[in-house]
């Protein structure tokens, strides 16, 4: 995910009328500008500041449920231990919705852990302005030097790749649940908590299309240069050929944040594909699907993400959309998920969604690691010890999967720091996703049809 940086540089390239700048005038203007900038900063409500965690809206009975799942609080649960943690999110800009839900997830987790007599997860939230790399670097440095964070929850692809050196140098135990990309794989202290965006689920999604639409031979691919790049260039074309013997007839790229897909739709229509695979994410996917349907392109579309925001963009046409991903289901009866969903409703008045779930879960991973380090007599504020505990046992309880009697499980790969999660193919019905198939990431070199469980 990223913002629309391309247009931000436009005005400086063109000539402005010549103006006479007096020092007084400049100072006056600066003062006014400072005032409005202050107001602008207010919009990023948590930007760069410590977010005091309130437990007022946390049901005290949550403690019992969490202690049943994760173990007792108190000394064993890290009571009295404070871990300074940062979040690098899109608080302002185009992706501010994502920043909000991610932050909410972590805040809820910190509050629930506190109520369960666990660690004090001292949360500091910083803004990368929806993917601005220089801002992300500055914000991370501030989190390190001013807030002295030990843990970092980052987001987006480009900013997270940019801060990889800072993460390593400062040994920040870091998790990214909202923009995993190949450039972040296997980096010191950085762990991905979602499947590689687009790349991992797309063989399964294509296998589902091949099964459901056996006459489909011609595939069109639409993506960006931000995420799912390998998926669009190699993984999907190879998988499609293997699955159907067919070919890729169009491979289109668009800028992140695009709202006008008319040219892409025209090119796709001209290529007359039997199916479309898109790596577009955020609102872009909604605009793409809407404009495809308006242009009477009625072939199946497989995406790699679902958001309520994109569904709003697309309206009724999203009911023709399918997607494959490690999708979070708030209706999952898994007991921990129930605590999460109820808590989220109590605190924020709405059901959680995918990104909120990932960032909530990450805080619990940290709590679990702190518990393990404490059990071994170590220092739970030492991030090297925390990471060693992760490598020693990379499996964690999860909101994903499980059933009414047990939580699900996710497992990290200690070699490349990626995660393995349940994935599925979903249809959108009445604006809401419904799972229609389970999929897995196929083994390297394996028949992509094996991705469909």
């Amino acid at each position: 995910m990223s913002n629309r940086r391309k247009l931000a540089s436009v005005p400086s390239r063109l000539s402005f009328p010549s103006v006479d700048v007096s020092r007084r005038g400049f100072l006056r203007g600066s003062a006014v500008l400072g005032g409005v900038s202050l107001l602008a900063a207010c919009g990023g409500n948590d930007s760069g500041s410590s977010s005091s965690i309130s437990t007022a809206k946390v049901d005290p009975e949550v403690a019992g449920g969490l202690n049943d799942i994760f173990g007792p609080g108190g000394k064993e649960g890290g009571a009295g231990v404070t871990l300074s943690a940062g979040m690098l999110l899109a608080i302002t800009g185009q992706g501010s919705f994502f920043g909000k839900v991610m932050g909410n997830g972590a805040k809820l987790a910190a509050a629930q852990i506190k109520v369960a007599d666990g660690i004090n997860y001292d949360l500091h939230i910083a803004d990368h302005k929806s993917g601005d790399v220089p801002t992300a670097l500055t914000a991370t440095r501030q989190l390190v030097t001013q807030d002295q964070i030990k843990i970092l929850q980052t987001s987006y692809g480009a900013p997270s790749e940019a801060i990889v050196p800072l993460i390593g140098q400062n040994k920040l135990l870091s998790f990214n649940g909202g923009g995993s990309s190949p450039g972040q794989v296997g980096k010191p202290f950085l762990w991905q908590t979602r499947m590689i965006f687009g790349d991992d689920p797309c063989p399964g999604g294509l296998a589902w299309i091949a099964r459901e639409f056996p006459d489909a031979k011609k595939l069109a691919i639409v993506g960006t240069q931000e995420n799912g790049v390998a998926g669009a260039s190699t993984i999907a074309p190879e998988a499609w050929k293997s699955l159907t013997g067919g070919e890729v007839v169009a491979n289109e790229q668009h800028d992140v944040g695009a709202t006008d897909f008319s040219s892409i739709v025209a090119r796709i229509k001209s290529a007359a594909p039997d199916a479309i695979l898109t790596f577009s994410f955020g609102d872009d996917a909604g605009y793409l699907v809407k404009q495809l349907r308006e242009a009477d392109v009625d072939v199946p579309v497989m995406g790699i993400e679902f958001t309520e925001q994109a569904a709003k963009v697309a309206g009724a046409s999203y009911d023709t959309y399918n997607f494959c991903t490690d999708f979070y289901d708030p209706k999952n009866p898994n007991p921990w998920n129930k605590i999460f969903v109820d808590g989220h409703n109590d605190m924020f008045g709405e059901d959680p969604e995918y990104y909120g779930a990932n960032y909530y879960e990450e805080v619990f991973f940290v709590w679990e690691l702190a518990r393990r380090v404490l059990a071994d007599g170590g220092d739970p504020t030492d991030t090297t010890a925390l990471q060693e505990a992760l490598v020693a046992n990379p499996t964690f309880k999860s909101l994903y999967g499980g059933d009414a009697s047990a939580t699900g499980e996710v497992t990290f790969n200690p070699d490349d720091h990626t995660i393995s999660k349940p994935m599925g193919v979903f249809k959108v019905v009445g604006g809401q996703p419904e799972k229609v198939a389970d999929i897995v990431k196929p083994e390297a070199g394996a028949d992509p049809a094996t991705a469909l469980v």
Partner: protein, 291 residues
């Protein structure tokens, strides 16, 4: 050459270019007269969309009435920026750069205000049916047809107003020689008020045309404002038809570039063409060279 692709891209280019044309005229009519680089035009755009959303979804007003509320809000916000910020600054002899800095600040602050009030979630208006019309391989939606018609009717109306009416000639006089215009009794304050209201009303129309098929977001105004600025400069400052032509050219170029290039190269083609045009004709396509 794939002729059906060319035809579809041409139609798409006209649809997109018409909205750019409207944006170009809306920005140009303010800039040409006041010389203020009105980046806070983005505020009028977003205000119109959010006011319509508020009227439709919170007050439960019918869509047509909500759109009128949006238009009024867009014009009002544009006017407020002139009256509350720019006019007092001009009175104190603030330079154009100072005013631009304030405009920049407002354009940054306002999306955050919207986010505080409405939250970061996408906001939608009720969507009327939007059937598609086909002619051979070319398709166009009813919304697009309406948007094109509305844009060009408004552009023609503004061009006529500026060139054929007495008040329009006052605007032209203020644009070409403000000192002389004031000397002959033209009320500059009134002229500025009208051009801000007019430009903001036009950008509000563009915002509502977009929101009735897309969504309102806090940052939605910036990109259209920049497009309006580019269209106005490409077409020629001071010429309504020039700004409109600039916008149409941007839309068509961007669309036609997809005949041979990946769509994400479109902006490169568009900006390359713009630089070439401005190198050869710094006054823009239909602008008049400075004496």
């Amino acid at each position: 050459m794939d002729l059906s692709l060319l035809a579809q891209l041409t139609v798409s280019g006209i649809v997109v270019g018409s909205s750019y044309a409207l944006l170009g005229v809306s920005f140009g009519v303010i800039y040409a007269t006041t010389k203020i680089f009105h980046l806070a035009h983005a505020v009028a755009y977003a205000a119109a969309a959010y006011a319509a959303v508020w009227a439709a979804n919170t007050l439960g007003l019918p869509l047509a009435v909500a759109l009128l509320v949006g238009l009024a809000a867009g014009a009002l916000f544009g006017l407020l920026i002139e009256v509350v910020f720019y006019r007092p600054m001009r009175k104190r002899n603030a330079t154009l750069l100072t005013i631009f800095l304030v405009s920049l600040g407002i354009s940054v602050a306002f999306p955050n205000l919207i986010q505080i009030v409405f939250g970061p979630d996408n906001q939608t208006l009720p969507r009327p049916d939007n059937p598609t019309y086909s002619l051979g391989a070319v398709t166009v939606s009813r919304h697009d047809v309406i948007a094109v018609l509305v844009s060009w009717v408004l552009i023609a109306a503004v061009a006529t107003f500026v060139s054929r009416t007495r008040f329009g000639r006052s605007i032209t006089a203020m644009r070409t020689n403000p000192t002389m215009a004031e000397a002959v009794g033209i009320d500059s304050k009134r002229v500025y008020t009208v051009v801000f209201a007019l430009g903001s009303l036009l950008v509000a129309v563009a915002a509502l045309l977009f929101t009735t098929k897309g969504v309102a977001t806090p940052t939605m105004g910036l990109q259209p404002t920049l497009i309006g600025f580019i269209a106005a400069f490409l077409g020629g400052i001071g010429s309504q038809w020039g700004a409109a032509l600039g916008g149409l050219a941007l839309g068509l170029l961007s669309s036609w570039s997809a005949l041979y290039l990946q769509v994400d190269y479109g902006p490169v083609v568009v900006f390359g063409a713009m630089f070439l045009v401005l190198l050869v004709r710094p006054q823009g396509l239909l602008g008049k060279a400075a004496a």
